[in-house]
Amino acid sequence: MRLDVILRVVTKVILPFMLVFAIYVQFHGDYGPGGGFQAGVIAGATIILYALIYGLAPARRLVPAALVEAMIPLGVLIYAGVGVVGWLTGGNYLDYSHLAHDPVHGQEWGVFLVEAGVFVTVSATMVAIFYAFAGRGRR
């Protein structure tokens, strides 16, 4: 049997919890420390841990490099898009007050959407950086 049995089994058990924790941190940015960047890093760490334990090739099959490279600008486009919606609803750029029926809920929706964009970009960036570094120097 291979010597890393403990690592592989524990990783298999832990990974789903890490991902759920990342999503928890993402959505509870209003009520505790959290938000897009922190959640994105945890989600990126999940994929990176998988790649560290199981190898780079399985990770690349699970999360292809092309998908990751497309997600990076996509997240920022979501953020910029929310700003543009601010224009379309009659306010300045990134004006959230008209996104819902009253300004307070508008702010909630605005922050929720931009944090979602940040999450997508940050998690993709962390994974992309790992792929770029890890794939080098192997002869």
Partner: protein, 492 residues
């Protein structure tokens, strides 16, 4: 629509960058870059016209009041800088296609244009924002993309140059943030306008002095003021031609604008220049830059490196004008900022066209190039004459203002030094002209032909501009004088 122009100025290149990053085909990327680059001067010109008619434009990002939110504030000073940066980007865009295709690996061209647009958005953001921390964010956005752009150069020394620039640039930005933090602690706000209002009433001046010192040193690292210029020659010499042209014409100029904004509008010219010994220090460093960098330029064997050292010297003229802190002095500094951007853009684009045809850019490799590429080198020679300050070119106008300003404050020796330094410029521009026309064509040069029309057109356009603005100076000197008055009158 007209109300949203300030936000459009930054958002359009940013969204353009994102679209390019999604679709990374070389031709599509270049097309998006051209469309965005041509839209930018339109927006900047509209902003300038608005500012001239209505006065200061204040745009509240997100609809928040400036006391709690970020404000984009456009007055005559930054309207000029915005127009400069966008005009340079628009002129470079058609030149870029062939230059980038020949110098950058095919798989990286898409990322190159994405980083180029991000850098453009960052520079425009620094110029337009009225919030100190927002300026830091845009400063780092433009700087990080510049490091990546420089590292895409062909030579492996480009990587080392980008690394050196990264270290020094990040230290500079961190110093700037420390200064802004001290100002925030003392005044309780990050909005430049409100800091300027509240700074007169702070309870203790020592943190304000410390903040001024940190901000000055931090920005000086970015604008390559002697002796903090060490990153510039290597970065400009080994970067791709388009990157050198763009950065030489815009990056240091925007940093100078930020410096002027803090020193004149936030801290106040009276406090900084009259109460503190900033003028002698800045004048000394500027003169050292002009003579030191100019002398080193004379002994370079790589043409791009020579003009990079020349840029360090020319920045010295601009800071000299600002340090004199009189209307004529600041006008001279600002006019030289505009003129130098045009001149260096012409020269580096011309050198880029030469590199495109010949493949090398050392003096012995481009010997006799003037006879094979007469129009390109003719334009570079005209820009070189403007750099020297020959009457009838734009460079003469700015040198004139600087000499008059030094005479006004009674510093005859400074006026003499400014005239003497043009001798050094004659020497190194003369070196280029001698190698280009008065030497036998080298082996590589013997077979080249003139640059393609899409490269020739921007180069000739800018060379013509350096002559035009030497004759009709309303757009440069006239507006720069209004900007200088706006800066010197303090609060905007």
């Amino acid at each position: 629509m007209g109300e949203q122009l300030p936000a459009l100025q930054v958002v359009v290149p940013l969204i353009g960058a994102l679209l390019v990053a999604l679709v990374r085909r070389p031709t599509a990327a270049w097309l998006v870059t051209v469309v965005v680059s041509l839209a930018m001067p339109v927006i900047s010109a509209l902003l300038l016209v608005r500012v001239l008619n209505q006065g200061v434009i204040s745009y509240h990002l997100g609809g928040w009041d400036p006391t709690i939110g970020i404000e984009y504030r456009v007055d005559i000073v930054n309207a000029l800088i915005l127009l400069l940066v966008s005009a340079v980007a628009a002129v470079i865009a058609p030149f870029a296609r062939l230059s980038v295709l020949s110098e950058i690996a095919e798989g990286r061209i898409g990322w190159f244009y994405a980083m180029y647009l991000v850098s453009l958005a960052g520079l425009l953001g620094i110029a337009i924002t009225g919030d100190a921390f927002n300026a830091f964010v845009f400063l780092e956005i433009s700087s990080l993309s510049s490091y990546v752009l420089i590292a895409m150069g062909r030579d492996r020394r480009a990587l080392v140059a980008a690394y050196q620039y990264l270290i020094m640039g990040t230290i500079g930005a961190s110093f700037y943030v420390i200064g802004v933090g001290l100002l925030y602690i003392m005044t309780g706000t990050l909005n430049l306008n409100l800091i300027a209002e509240r700074i007169v009433a702070v309870e203790s001046f020592r943190p304000v002095l410390a903040a001024l010192a940190f901000i000055t040193v931090g920005i000086s690292l970015k604008l390559a003021l002697f002796p903090l210029h060490v990153w510039l020659p290597n970065a400009y010499a080994y970067a791709p031609s388009v990157v050198t042209t763009f950065l030489a014409a815009t990056a240091t100029k925007v940093a100078i604008y930020l410096f002027a904004r803090f020193v004149f509008s936030v801290f106040g010219a009276g406090f900084v220049f009259a109460d503190l010994p900033v003028t002698p220090i800045l004048v000394a460093l500027s003169v050292a830059a002009i003579f030191g960098a100019g002398t080193v330029a004379v002994f370079q064997s790589d043409v791009k490196r020579m003009f990079a050292y020349s840029s360090v010297g020319q920045v010295g003229y601009i800071t000299l004008g600002l340090a004199l802190a009189t209307t004529t002095g600041v006008t001279g500094g600002l006019v030289h900022l505009l003129n130098h951007a045009m001149i260096k853009a012409t020269i580096f684009m011309g050198l880029g066209a030469v590199f495109f045809r010949v493949g090398r850019i050392e003096f012995q490799d481009i010997a006799g190039i003037g006879r094979r590429m007469p129009i390109t080198m003719g334009a570079v020679a005209i820009a070189g004459l403007s750099l020297i300050g020959v009457p009838g070119t734009a460079g003469f106008v700015s040198k004139w203002y600087l000499v008059v300003a030094s005479l006004e404050v009674g510093w005859w020796w400074l006026a003499f030094l400014i005239v003497l330094s043009t001798m050094i410029t004659v020497v190194y521009v003369g070196r280029l002209i001698e190698w280009a026309w008065f030497r036998e064509p080298s082996r590589q040069v013997a077979t080249v032909e003139e640059a393609p029309i899409e490269m020739l057109a921007p180069i000739c356009l800018l060379a013509a501009a350096t002559i035009y603005f030497g004759i009709d100076t309303y757009l440069t000197a006239g507006l720069a004088e209004r900007a200088a008055n706006a800066l010197l009158s303090g609060l905007r």
